[in-house]
Symmetry: C2
Subunit: 339 residues, 2 copies
DNA sequence: ATGAAAGCGCTAACAA
DNA sequence: TTGTTAGCGCTTTCAT
């Protein structure tokens, strides 16, 4: 930058003002400086700014796992919004490990992020305290609790699962099961409770033996479904904690030669693009990555600069997407392995 | 850090030496300093180091698209390797846009990365010149050209497609088609040529009308397959540029009521985990994300610090994964839409 | 074995 | 409207 200033015959302060539009500069001077900037192919060094001000124009995002396609789809939208603000994105994944989560938080602190979006809900409250101590704005997804410096974006699972269950009920299903996420993760409880509540509202009995545990990945849905198929009684339809779980369940059903949707209906959750490429295409409840991203950015921006206030409580709706994995239940006789 | 130094009654230089093990410190002093470090919850500020030395202990990665599951799977491994070296990962996506690519390069420059891994091969050589000018080590994937400061990791498509075509040929297929990537992307040419060469080696005629263009996404495979099904002649088996393309092709076949694999065989490429969750499970040629990541890190590390030499030329093999989308061809009569 | 100090690039406060 | 300057945190060289 000094080089630029010298070449342009001005001071570095003027160059800075031109770059940021942060002070009065005679248009003529500005033009000249811009030309030199161009000529010298000037690349600013944000480290200097970060060093000086202790902020980096960056939001951090902590997600459980990049290999769940929902997150890439979300991050894509989220980053687009950040770019508009000249913000950067720092991604950290926890792989469901507390140790990695703690390290992620540390990275966020080191990089002097201006806010952290926490999408990994398996987190002990203790682990985020350092953020709190350092007065970093926090936005959580589905923690459903806000305080000073902390906002929350809730996904409307209650409505989502109500739509799913109503749809199945209208088709004639009475025995509806649920494959959830790992126990001990907050959002797993939220999702399961939303499902139970939906059953109640629709007037169906929710049977304990029809609740299984998954892991938000294909493997969990697959295993849960295998366990289910070994039992003597099983539901005629399954609602799942997310699309990957549903896809895993479908795999197990296909492997057992059970027809989807005629012998078993499945509903996913998330609305990942690949759901539509499954066979049959996955009926699901979709969260709009766009809307979610917008809400997250809004909640983060709201706390930026003024952390001495409660964060926003936002909520994002879901839309039911009917595709090919749901149909009326078949005769109530016991399913057989066909292969 | 100054606070730590004061509290420990030493100079900041000593603290620095303790932190980095970069100089002689009496064990007793070191212990004391470490205790204070702990006590004060010291968080280093890497911006200062970046500012001072113009390097950031970061490798940048430029990928076309985070929503192709191969990249998250790869990045996961890649990051694991970097963490071992206390390196960070800076991800940029181009969405196949030259403008975004140029911006990505600029971000890499601003952030003072120590090397850039370029996995987006649609790039004009011009666009990477700034990296070259700034003496940033570059590793490309499948550019198949190295020079001073630039290494390359080649994926062995020749072998990959040979395995695929041999497998199909052994099953009895004679008419084998190929759905590639967008024209104008280097790796698309490489893949198509590798396919053509494989056909030649196996002694099958490669027919021009059996070559279609995709886009490395589900949509491209789907559309190409729809076009194919409208034609009067078509192959009995299809090899694709990647798994997403294959999945798209499968979707179109399912929609047309054509049985996979009995009426049409499909082979993908990449080996993404979701391929195994398709119905039927996708036969594919897998690249090990692990091996690829290892090669990339090796090539990058090789140039780190000493850019005045040719980069390495590495090559990563592929392994054929037989699953459920390939079978002997059925009678040669024209396929009909069944639905 | 330890300390003092310079300097990386940037920006805002202040001076002119 | 423009320039001067201090200082952000860190590491390394040189001196002690």
């Amino acid at each position: 930058m000094r080089t630029v200033a010298q070449r342009a015959g001005v001071s570095s302060a003027t160059v800075s003002r031109v770059l940021n539009g942060s002070g009065p500069v005679k248009e003529e001077t500005a033009k000249h400086v811009r030309r030199i900037l161009e000529e010298l192919n000037f690349i600013p060094n944000p480290s200097a700014t970060t060093l000086k001000y202790g902020r980096s124009n960056t939001y951090g995002v902590i997600i459980p796992d990049l290999t769940n396609p929902f997150f890439p789809e979300f991050l894509h939208r989220f980053e687009d919004l950040l770019v508009e603000n000249d913000f950067e994105l720092l991604i950290a994944t926890t792989q469901s490990s507390q140790a990695k989560f703690v390290r992620s938080i540390r990275r966020m602190l080191m990089r002097r992020v201006d806010g952290v979006l926490i999408m990994a809900s398996e987190i002990a409250t203790r682990a985020i305290e350092p953020l709190f101590d350092h007065r970093i704005p926090i936005v959580t997804i589905d923690r459903r609790h806000v305080q000073e410096g902390t906002g929350d974006v809730a996904i409307h699972f209650e409505d989502a699962y109500l739509q799913a269950v109503e749809h199945l009920s209208r088709l004639g299903h009475k025995q509806i099961g649920f494959i959830g996420g790992e126990r001990g993760i907050r959002t797993s409880r939220v999702r399961q409770r939303a499902f139970e509540r939906a059953m109640q509202i629709v007037g169906l009995e929710c049977q304990k033996e029809f609740l299984w545990e998954g892991n938000y990945r294909v493997s969990g849905g697959d295993e849960a479904m295998r366990v289910m198929l070994k039992a003597t009684r099983h539901p005629t339809a399954i609602v799942t904690a997310n699309d990957l779980t549903a896809i895993g369940a479908m795999r197990a059903l296909h492997a057992a030669g059970i027809n989807i949707p005629n012998e078993m209906s499945i509903v996913g959750f998330d609305g990942i693009e690949l759901g539509d490429a499954m066979h049959p295409p996955l009926t699901t409840v979709a969260v709009s990555p766009n809307e979610l991203a917008r809400a997250c950015v809004r909640a983060l921006d709201h706390l930026k600069g003024s952390i001495n206030k409660r964060g926003m409580r936002l909520s994002v709706g879901c839309s039911f997407v009917q595709r090919g994995t749901t149909a009326p239940p078949r005769s109530p006789k016991r399913l057989q392995y066909h292969k």
